[in-house]
């Protein structure tokens, strides 16, 4: 049998990670220096989130002759059209391999002082490298503090390690899998509550995806009010950690929880701290094991699958397969969390499992 050390299934792109990070840094426009199809999907999603995304639309001639001049013209035009306070500029495989100088083009366009240039492409390595590059550049330009950069870098490195040890970067090839039916998993949760048992809901989400997973907590809380049982909530919703945009997500979700009467028993960290928050959630679960732990977002960061009965909720058929392989008892694959949670007016979105819980208790 031929074995390779290569992860053969598709992996997230460092360029896309840089783009999401630039969004978190509140840039007004992201310019992709590459062919027009590069990062098309993340671009569309980020546009939905209110960030303008444009491309230098490179063609064969540009690869051959270089295209720093073309990029400078596009940056000038972007400045004219959108009058941005802050611009994010990312590379692509094509432009970076031919050695394009992003800063030179930004300087030529007269926008270097307000352009975060990310020398990144999809072959740069782990996707988190793209995020680190964007943050490092933002720190060097004074848009974030050095200590904030160091904190986020540490988190991103922990996230990378987590993916390599327990995530979808740990195997040569992981099959796609659909997961368990939400209605059947909902029934398990409702049975525990009906029997007066304890359900621990762990929200261990990454940034805006929390707007989807938080719905599960609302649904379990609602079910507990009607059926009984006890609900413990552990959530990485610390409102004072992270970039202002990310903090605002936590605040908004906590406000909604407050309105709905949901009490968060423990804040395990910020929305950009899921690797660390997962460890904290694990410790809290082990201190007082529930009858069932419902872990959503990045469940594999909460390593309790061999200790208590678990429901893991995540997105992506490959992530679902991985969670099953790790040994989580029930696994629900939600619809694309990014797709659902991006948008100018963010609020908690209906999740598949949340809806199944509501339906299961007769609502």
């Amino acid at each position: 049998m031929v074995e390779t050390s290569v992860i053969m299934h598709p992996r997230p792109s460092p360029t896309a990670a840089a783009m999401y990070t630039l969004r978190d840094l509140d840039v007004d426009v992201i310019v992709i220096h590459g062919p027009s199809g590069c990062c098309f999907r993340p671009a569309r999603l980020l546009e939905k989130d209110g960030v303008k995304v444009v491309t230098s639309a490179l063609l064969e001639d540009d690869f051959v002759f270089g295209s720093e001049g073309k990029l400078a013209k596009i940056l000038k035009r972007v400045d004219e059209l959108f009058k941005p306070k802050l611009i994010g500029l990312v590379g692509s495989c094509a432009s970076m391999i031919i050695g394009e100088d992003l800063k030179k083009a930004a300087r030529e366009a007269g926008v270097l002082h307000k352009t975060i240039c990310c020398d990144v492409h999809s072959g740069s390595g782990d996707n988190t490298i793209g995020a680190i590059i964007a943050l490092r550049e933002a720190a060097s330009m004074g848009f974030i503090s050095l200590s904030e950069f160091e904190r986020q870098k540490k988190m991103l490195e922990m996230a990378t390690m987590l993916e390599r040890t327990r995530g979808t970067a740990r195997g040569e090839y992981i099959e796609n899998r659909q997961g368990d039916l939400p209605r059947e998993v909902a029934r398990k949760i409702l049975d525990v509550l009906s029997a007066g048992g304890k359900v621990t809901c762990v929200l261990n989400a990454k940034k805006e995806t929390a707007f989807l997973y938080a719905d599960i907590i609302l649904a379990v809380y609602e079910a507990s009010r009607r059926l009984g049982g006890r609900v413990q909530v552990l959530a990485n919703l610390a409102p004072d950690i992270g970039l202002p945009r990310v903090r605002s997500y936590s605040k908004k979700i906590l406000e909604r929880f407050f309105r709905e009467g949901v009490i968060v028993d423990s804040l395990t960290g910020g929305l950009d701290e899921y690797p660390l928050a997962g460890e904290r959630a694990k410790d809290l679960i082990l201190q007082s094991p529930p009858d069932l732990a419902v872990i959503s977002g990045i469940p594999h960061a909460v390593q309790v699958e061999r200790v208590v009965r678990t429901v893991a909720v995540s997105v992506g058929a490959r992530a679902v397969a991985n969670l099953k392989l790790l040994g989580y008892d029930y696994v629900v694959g939600e619809r694309d969390a990014h797709q659902l949670s991006l948008g100018r007016n963010k609020d908690i979105q209906k999740s598949l499992l949340g809806q199944a819980i509501r339906k299961g208790m007769g609502r």
Partner: protein, 261 residues
């Protein structure tokens, strides 16, 4: 139709030899095209007495230009083309060569020539520069070298590259030859299992011809060096390009040099 590619260290005299070989064979009625593959676009100057606009530049304006927009007729009817490429320090010359050669082979009927000569820049530093032999546009390669260590070092790297892509090689062309340097080239030839197809000495005549933007074959067809060029041209044209070269380690190359010194 014969199609061959000249490779060798930068500045070793590939273009000088390629244009003189084309000129020499054209004098014998062999219908020849010289395709310069260097971004500097200077392979055909000595056949034309001037620079021509490179194909890639024409393609930027016209996308699919007809042959008359990028070909020119040089000395004795030799058809001349320059692929061209980016300015130094920007873009990707290798990618340019790939695009240019593919278009050229599509738009030009190369089969109508008796001889197609590709003058390829430097050694095979990337996949793009290997495309001429890798994708079979040339049936085989020639390695131009002098007796200097770095030139043979580049020749050895070329042997390694040709071996790894399975390209056929006709042999070595010893340029700027001298009696004292022959032992180095002969020793290298033996080690990499390639014949020396011919040699061309260091020549003031060639320098003067080039200063006048001419081949020596045109400027002084009856000189001794011209006779050597004609002889080399015959060796090349009649070669079967059947060898897959060996290569030697850098340490062995250094030892070879020390032993031959």
């Amino acid at each position: 139709m014969r199609a061959i590619a000249f490779y060798g260290k930068g500045g070793i005299g590939k273009s000088t030899l390629a244009s003189n070989i084309a000129a020499a064979l054209s004098c014998e009625g062999i219908k020849t095209i010289l395709i310069g593959c260097d971004p500097k676009a200077d392979s055909t100057i000595n056949l034309l007495g001037r620079r021509i606009r490179p194909l890639l530049e024409v393609m930027r304006d016209e996308k699919r230009p007809p042959p008359e927009h990028f070909t020119a007729i040089g000395f004795n009817g030799v058809v001349c083309v320059e692929i061209g490429g980016p300015e130094p320090g920007v873009g990707c010359a290798g990618r340019g060569l790939i695009i240019g050669i593919r278009y050229l082979s599509e738009i030009l009927d190369l089969e109508k020539f008796d001889l197609v000569i590709f003058d390829v820049p430097a050694d095979i530093v990337c996949g793009g520069l290997a495309v001429v032999v890798k994708e079979g546009y040339a049936e085989g390669a020639l390695i131009v070298t002098s007796d200097e260590f770095m030139s043979l070092y580049a020749a050895n790297n070329l042997c390694r590259g040709f071996m790894s892509i399975g390209a056929k090689v006709g042999g070595l062309v010893y340029n700027r030859a001298s009696e004292s340097g022959m032992r180095y080239v002969a020793s290298f030839s033996q080690k990499v299992d390639l014949p020396i197809l011919g040699l061309v000495p260091i020549s003031e005549e060639i320098k003067i011809a080039e200063a006048r933007r001419k081949t020596l074959i045109e400027m002084n067809p009856f000189s001794n060096v011209s006779a050597m060029l004609v002889s080399l041209a015959h060796s090349i044209y009649e070669n079967r390009f059947s060898a897959v070269p060996k290569w030697i380690s850098a340490d062995d190359l250094e030892c070879m040099f020390l032993e031959s010194a």
